[in-house]
């Protein structure tokens, strides 16, 4: 890590702290929300959900680092595991839905009946 600690003369931006990571996480989360709200393709909406999960992961890791507590990282590990399970089930549902309806567009999927 000596390489990372080395100093370079560049125009002065503030030193990176917890709030920088939280800002990145917040913006990424909002991008995910934007994707779910604006895009109508069910797969892209699903990817936006992954984006939101990743943003929360980043916030948890940043809090864990700056509070000197590893529990946050264990939480992120569990979130990644649950997200993997969720992706598997969700994509299986999308494939099953596509077989019935021949569409992956949410505006064609407005009725509960198959």
């Amino acid at each position: 890590m000596n390489l990372l600690a080395a100093s370079v003369d560049l125009p002065s931006l503030p030193p990176v702290g917890l709030q920088h990571y939280l800002a990145v996480s917040a913006i990424l989360f909002c991008l995910g929300v934007l994707g779910v709200l604006v895009r109508r393709n069910i797969l892209v909406m699903y990817m936006s959900l992954e984006l939101m999960l990743n943003a929360s992961n980043l916030a948890l890791v940043a809090f864990s680092r700056f509070n000197n507590n590893l529990n946050g990282q264990v939480m992120v590990f569990f979130i990644i595991t649950v997200a993997a399970a969720e992706v598997a089930v969700g994509l299986a549902l999308i494939v099953a839905l596509y077989r019935k309806r021949q569409t992956a567009h949410v505006e064609d999927l407005t009725t509960m009946k198959l």
């Binding site: 390489l3 370079v8 929300v33 934007l34 699903y46 000197n68 649950v82 969720e86 494939v95």
Partner: protein, 167 residues
Amino acid sequence: MALSDIFFYLFAALTLFCGLMVVANPLSRNPVTSAIFLVLTIVSMSGLFVLLHAFFLAAVQILVYAGAVMVLFLFVIMLLDLKEEERRKFKVISAGIGALAVFGTAAIFLKSIGTTQWKGAAPTIEGSTVALGKLLFDKFLLPFEIVSVLLLVAMIGVILLSRKELK
């Protein structure tokens, strides 16, 4: 300005740019492009994890997300025929209202992050595999086992869902 700060700004910019390209790519609305940009987002985010000294999670992020999850996504995209989806017309009004709501939320988030006084303890922990493993098999043993059962349940559920004749 430390070199790690430069890397932070680099990876943060890359993460946010690729995240934006996932949801609002001006050149292509193909889900495959979104998936590839999601892979890039995840990889640059694991760079941020390395900067936060969460080395194990950075590796897991690449292995599980960029590897397993995204391959699954690409498989499904290839399985479904999505040619027709690209020709849909884009509803500007609803998208604009959605974007407005999201920008409001983002403004509230960033304002509250900016005005909070974060206590500045010097970070000393390392998210090494050894440290995380010790926590995982000691303090968090029960959640760990429950998560393994959850993975089994998900696997059975997926097999059930992907049968030929779905009732």
